[in-house]
Amino acid sequence: MNSNNPLERDLRVAVEQSANIVIITDREGNIEYVNPKFTEITGYSSEEVLGKNPRLLKSGQMSKEYYQNLWNTLLSGNEWRGDIINRKKDGEPYWASANISPVRDAEGNIFRFIAIQEDVTARKTAENLLRISERKFSQLVTYSPDPIVVLDRFGGILSVNPAAEREWGYSKSELEGNDFIRMGIVSLPSVPKVTQELAETSSGQTRKPFELEMISKEGGKITFDANLSLMPGHGEGEKIQMIFRNMSEKKNLEKLQEEFVNTVSHEFRTPLTIIKGSVENLRDGVAGKLTEKQEKIVQTTARNIDRLARLINSVLDLSRLESRRSKVNRVRLDLAAVLQETVDGFENTSKNKNLRFKTVFPSSLPSVHADPDLIIRMLANLLDNAFRFAKSEVTVKAEAREEKVRISVMDDGAGIAPEDQKELFSKFHQIHRPIGGAGYKGTGLGLAICKEIAEVHQGKIWIESALGRGTAFHFEVPVCGQLIKTTIDDIKN
């Protein structure tokens, strides 16, 4: 292919420098020329392949018919284009986007073939990965137990998954193409909320899941939590994806729990009242004077009835607090007054147990927004513990700290080892439980209740203690102004 013609020389340079593989064969398919790109990609030098057939590149991954079609096209004098998997010298496959043309002589007979191949392995691999990834996501949507719906920006349903058909009783074709809000699957009271959420999502705001009620084709009302998000669009504009979670089971469970608590509350109390009253009647001699032995038995019974009553009350209190269903009656509260009232109630305990009782309050404390009954309950629990474990002294301290009020209840008892402090606020956890029968026994719920009460008030409670150095429980609750600000922020969010 030597030539003195400058154009031919330049063409040759172009072929040599081409970013594509160039292969030239004779009519029988024997390789006459390969360019440097061929060597670079396949790993074969031109000496290795000259005179050989290009089938040495065959990967075995294309069908016989594919090659048949290739040759038929070429031998009928046409150009062939297509993607083909070839194999490099080291055995590694590569994707080639090929263009093979027959070259004719002056008489019109084919005497040569020129193949130009572009290495498109990277693109093919990316396409393949994309396809796999698409299949993964579409499987997630298809097999999701939760309904997933894609809407356009105007609320038109673009697609639904099988779970949506299942949960709402409509077929895909009944749902797709309809207006999500207007077609009647969203219950009327939920429409304003859904409309607002859709508008805010499409304006690009990140939303929290919200509760809505849907109406199935049979007319049943089902509560769902829905999570909206903006899907990046491609040309046709952004879409909104809605993922639903059926909440009916959770709702039913909550209702069952509430019913259970109410039933227990009512049904346990009456027999307990009667047992308690009867035993107290016996103890107090209503049925005549008791022998010393009888009195002892009756006293043990009475003590344990009280314990059972305390336990039932605590379980119910805790259950109500945990479900956040208890009516928390929060008012602007003068903490100093509540504190004084509770402390007064423990004066007798202090005298009976011969323990000093120190109170350190400032003359006034900022108001807090709290339920007085719950605050008293918490203080009483903490004082109760302190008086149980103190050696000689119990101290109650209250102080305003920035935007919080801190109340501390301290005893000078044995203290609690760090490893015992972790589980202290969990249910039915008791340390230093008295061994043997007599004496006051805790319910193991007191501190769990305190923690719930603190949380209900957006406050916190914690312990500070070391072995041999007594124990302090600190409780902090935000002062009025601060709390209102927090609540408004919560609403905004």
């Binding site: 009512h266 109390r269 307990l272 009242t273 009253g277 009867s278 107090d284 009516k327």
Partner: protein, 124 residues
């Protein structure tokens, strides 16, 4: 003359236990187990104090309280409300209808006796 106390609760065991106690303390007792019987007993036997269960069959606590509050001869009888639940809306309503005190089940007998004594001293 010992004070006469009406114990109104649907549970027979409870009224008996309480009656035993009150009798031992020197009171005269009447019991009623149904809401409708409460009003009858009040009119016939004129108690000086009523211990009333909030939840009674045939006559809810609130309707009994309303009837008692309407009549001149019964509206000054002190009432102690026994209740198994603590619903603030119940307490508010009951206070408006003249309830003197609330006792939550299970009560402390000593405390109940104290409340009864106070209600008798101040009421009527």
């Amino acid at each position: 003359m010992p004070a006469r106390i009406l114990i109104a609760d649907d549970d027979v065991d409870l009224t008996m236990t309480l009656a035993d106690r009150l009798q031992a303390a020197g009171f005269e007792t009447i019991v009623a187990h149904e809401g409708v019987r409460v009003l009858e007993a009040v009119h016939r036997q004129k108690p000086q104090l009523i211990i009333l269960d909030w939840k009674m069959p045939a006559g809810e606590g609130s309707s009994i309280l309303e009837s008692l509050a309407k009549k001149e001869e019964t509206r000054r009888i002190p009432i102690i409300l026994l209740s198994g639940m603590e619903d603030p809306s119940v307490s508010e309503k009951a206070l408006k209808l003249g309830v003197k005190a609330f006792i939550k089940k299970p009560y402390e007998t000593a405390e109940l006796m104290k409340v009864i004594q106070e209600a008798l001293n101040h009421g009527g």
